[in-house]
Symmetry: C2
Subunit: 137 residues, 2 copies
């Protein structure tokens, strides 16, 4: 599926959420890539995956829920660590195979306790560790 | 593969680029998800895919090169449209299955001529078209 049929709609036109969800271009496991961006600072925190159920749960509960590909289960971000992602808003991309989430992340987003997951920074022919785990204040 | 073995390195420690590239957690087609973020405004422009060759080309040429899954070929962003993505920097995430690119996007990033691809915004039970195609000045 794809959202291609809708890409020529004008700004402000609306579709039903059900119609859009039914036309997402998910992978063979029903998943779509989801980028989490801190809504105020605009830092990109992480990339994870969602399915239709986790998208709907996120919208209903106001807390971001992913699908964990490694654990093959729903992943309610921060449920065990307390490092929750409060849901602010979401948008799908032109071809319906990615989601951009605006979130409010409590503490570290990364399982390494770093604020974000993108800490392997390329510099010339090297990769430099760009950040340290967060420490409690 | 995964970058898990390296996640406990301290800030400032370095790895060789070759070692990191050899340990990326690519999909069965050798691809990894790549987020493009406008380096100064921090807007998330698009999500696409790269393979090792396109990562190396991007680093060498300073222009972002993706792998197009739909066309099954290298996709030198803006080669035909002129809407280039100048490469600023890149970082890999903790488990080595995503790249965050900082770019300088000329004009629209989206094939619909919108600045970014994330224009299907969820509002309550609806999806609202959030932006219009860019027009030439």
């Amino acid at each position: 599926m794809t959202l291609k049929a809708f890409e020529h709609l004008a700004k402000g036109e609306t579709l039903s959420l059900d119609e859009v969800l039914a036309n997402l271009k998910t992978d063979k496991d029903g998943l779509i890539a989801a980028i989490a961006q801190q809504y105020d600072t605009k830092e990109v925190l992480m990339l994870a995956y969602m399915n239709e159920v986790s998208i709907r749960e996120t919208l209903e509960t106001g807390q971001v829920c992913y699908w964990s590909r490694s654990r093959q289960t729903y992943w309610r971000k921060g449920e065990s660590s307390g490092n929750r992602q409060r849901f602010i808003s979401m948008a799908f991309d032109c071809d319906g195979d990615a989601i951009l989430l605006q979130v409010d992340q409590t503490g570290p987003a990364c399982h390494t306790n770093r604020r974000d997951c993108f800490f392997f920074g390329v510099e010339d022919n090297k990769v430099v560790i760009q950040s340290a785990p967060m420490t409690d204040a």
